[in-house]
């Protein structure tokens, strides 16, 4: 069974600074995908970034980038130049490439951006 662990329940960052959210996962699979989703107070789940495990290059999307360490089974999200609109819950998620596999989420981390 796959597990996703987000050990920090809450984090806070000053506007314009950089913050890193941690995520580790456990799997015996070699082919899989990892995601970070954002859930602002509006409740909408929004994809932030997606990483294919077979790609060594870390994914980036504007101010968001990941540090993917496959051997360590670590997938952290770095948010640069934090903005007030980044205040949200962030969920790390994992899915392997097998038939009928399902997306498994971590417990999430609440990020607050301070003005």
């Amino acid at each position: 069974a796959q597990t996703v662990t987000q050990s920090q329940p809450e984090m806070s960052v000053q506007e314009a600074e950089t913050v890193t959210l941690s995520c580790t996962y456990d799997t015996s699979e070699s082919n899989y995908y990892l995601f970070w989703y954002k859930q602002p107070p509006s409740r909408q789940m929004i994809l932030v970034i997606r990483q294919e495990a077979y790609k060594q290059q870390n994914a980036t999307e504007n101010r968001f980038s990941v540090n993917f360490q496959k051997a360590a089974k670590s997938f952290s999200l770095k948010i640069s130049d934090s903005q007030l609109g980044d205040t949200a819950m962030y969920f790390c998620a994992f899915v392997y490439t097998g038939a009928n596999s399902k997306l498994t989420f971590g417990k999430g981390i609440t990020l607050s951006v301070r003005p």
């Binding site: 789940m45 969920f91 399902k102 997306l103 989420f105």
Partner: protein, 113 residues
């Protein structure tokens, strides 16, 4: 245009009632999902349909019955509602399998009194 829509957004009902939540996606995706987010914000998959065929059925009470009339719609019917069913229910869709990016609806907050 809303890509994945759900109705209603809020649902308040009494224990024992039967209710339905509707979901529609206009993305042309083949796969749709239902997730439950509990009071601690933990998200867990309930069901998944691919081209109207049930492909994932997690350990969910059989009071919950999904129905997919076509690949753009996936409804969730809940019989004999219980207090523990109170949660936010999300519908999502993806082009193909679960490895494809899933796009979520706005969620339905169900409160059972």
């Amino acid at each position: 245009d809303t890509a994945v829509s759900q109705t209603p957004k809020y649902l308040v009902t009494q224990m024992g009632n039967d209710k339905s939540i509707k979901c529609e996606q206009n993305l042309g995706h083949d796969t749709m999902y239902w997730y439950k987010q509990d009071s601690k914000k933990f998200l867990k998959i309930m069901f998944s349909y691919n081209n109207k065929e049930l492909i994932i059925n997690e350990t969910v009470p059989n009071r919950f019955s999904p129905k997919s009339p076509d690949k753009a719609h996936l409804n969730l019917h809940i019989n004999s509602l219980e207090l523990g069913d109170s949660a936010v229910y999300f519908c999502a869709s993806s082009q193909g399998r679960s490895v494809d990016t899933q796009y979520f609806g706005p969620g339905t907050r169900l409160t059972v009194l």
